[in-house]
């Protein structure tokens, strides 16, 4: 089976929700119909008004199929042309264009700030890339500040570049994150789980007490509540979520809300 998969590849649909390994070849419907029905069917599939297939992280195009480059669970989303990606567990962040991350200012070098984002290289952030910033009106950024920003340039050959404004020049929540609060790191998988719409963990936590949360795609989380104790409780719950089942988490939360 494994040998066959190596040589010929398996249908992507059959592997959804299962573990895939780097080197696996996934075949798409238009691809494996070829043998069975011949050219005719493939042509008809090609002319169908179908959206473009999205080949997400962990997968690479290879011929007409997809090549797996990360190990994890294969995910699929229907709608449009559909989307395949690999849900993997990793801690090292690789900058991706468009991602919102939390960076730590490590240096002020003339026109740009150097930000540590947890990637292989520090990211650069122009002092003009803040809302309302001009050449005269520089933003007040100090070394050690936390900055929530977005990648505009992120590829393997270039230094990643961040901005704190969107395309319309508004900050929309990006920029320096407040002075106090608590920053910690979790795995990238947990961040995605927390950022998923209608995440249970977040919904349960939001019932506890007032607090603020910033989640960066690079695995960094910043929490601030009214007291240090409350902040630390949230931090501990979020950190533990990685290894707790839903029931365990509910029990822990019940204990807290009882206090």
């Amino acid at each position: 089976m494994a040998a066959m998969a190596m040589e010929r590849g398996t249908a992507a649909e059959a592997l959804v929700g299962q573990v895939v390994l780097p080197g696996d070849l996934l075949l798409l419907p238009a691809h494996y119909d070829e043998d069975a029905e011949g050219e005719r069917l493939r042509l008809s599939a090609g002319t169908a008004p179908q959206g473009r297939l999205l080949c997400g992280p962990g997968l690479r195009r290879s011929g007409a199929g997809l090549l797996v480059t990360k190990c994890g669970l294969l995910r699929h989303r229907p709608g449009g042309g559909g989307a395949y990606w690999v849900d993997s567990q990793q801690k090292r962040y690789v900058p991706v264009k468009g991602d919102h991350v939390i960076g730590i200012v490590t240096a002020k070098a003339g026109d740009v700030f150097r930000l540590d984002v947890g990637g292989s290289e520090p990211a650069s952030l122009s002092y003009l890339a803040f809302e309302g910033a001009t050449k005269r009106n520089r933003p007040n950024v100090q070394v050690g500040d936390l900055i929530y920003g977005q990648f505009v340039v992120a590829n393997k050959d270039m230094e990643p570049e961040m901005v704190c404004i969107d395309s319309s020049g508004k900050s929309s929540g990006m920029g320096i994150i407040g002075q106090d609060g608590f920053l910690f790191k979790v795995s990238l998988g947990l961040i995605r789980k927390l950022l998923a719409p209608k995440c249970e963990i977040i919904q349960e936590l939001s019932q506890l007490y007032p607090f603020e949360l910033v989640l960066g795609m690079n695995g960094r989380i910043w929490v601030k509540a009214k007291t240090v104790q409350q902040t630390l409780i949230i931090v501990n719950i979020l950190e533990a979520c990685e290894y707790m089942t839903a029931e365990q988490r509910k029990q822990a939360l019940a204990k807290l809300s009882g206090n």
Binding site: C55, G173, A196, S206, F211, V214
Partner: protein, 172 residues
């Protein structure tokens, strides 16, 4: 004798901008062709077969953002930071709005035809609002005139009406 001696202008001179007007179409074409030939000869090209561009229906995307529909990364709960809470609603509703808009189209409670009918009557009333008083009167008169014309078949009454409004020059 005079015809034979007629000097011919050089090609380079004919190619100049100010000479173009006087040229007839045939010589113009000839000149253009020659120019093209010169240009194409000067260019050099690689003798390789054409690259066949395969139309791919797969887009590579390095971000989880588009795959998993992740929400906005800043959150605030129970009024800890009202600004962020406002932002949260705004950012997270962006993707939902499109769906809502689609729904709106489906169940419009006023049909397009009815809308058109209503606007038909509105055009006149609203239009009046933006006209000056004098213009309004003219508009009204015109309407009446048209009615009159239909009734009487001639426009003899019209000059009289206009005459009434005219400024009467006092006699010396």
């Amino acid at each position: 004798m005079a015809g034979e001696v007629k000097t011919k202008l050089s090609k380079n001179l004919l190619r100049m901008k100010f000479m173009q007007r006087g040229l007839d179409s045939q010589t113009k074409k000839q000149l253009e062709e020659e120019e093209k030939k010169i240009i194409s000869e000067e260019h050099w090209y690689l003798d390789v077969p054409d690259l066949k561009e395969k139309e791919s229906c797969i887009i590579e995307e390095r971000s989880f953002l588009r795959c998993e529909d992740l929400v906005y990364g800043r959150m605030s709960f129970k009024g800890f930071n009202p600004e962020i809470e406002k932002l949260m609603i705004q950012m997270n509703s962006k993707c939902k709005e499109e769906k809502i808009e689609e729904d709106d189209k489906m169940e419009a409670d006023v049909s397009d035809e009815e809308m058109a009918r209503r606007y038909e009557t509105l055009v006149g009333t609203i239009g009046k609002k933006f006209l000056r008083k004098r213009d309004q009167r003219v508009l009204k008169d015109d309407d009446e005139d048209e009615d009159d014309e239909v009734e009487e078949g001639n426009s003899n009454t019209r000059p009289c009406k206009r005459a009434k409004k005219m400024f009467l020059k006092p006699q010396d």
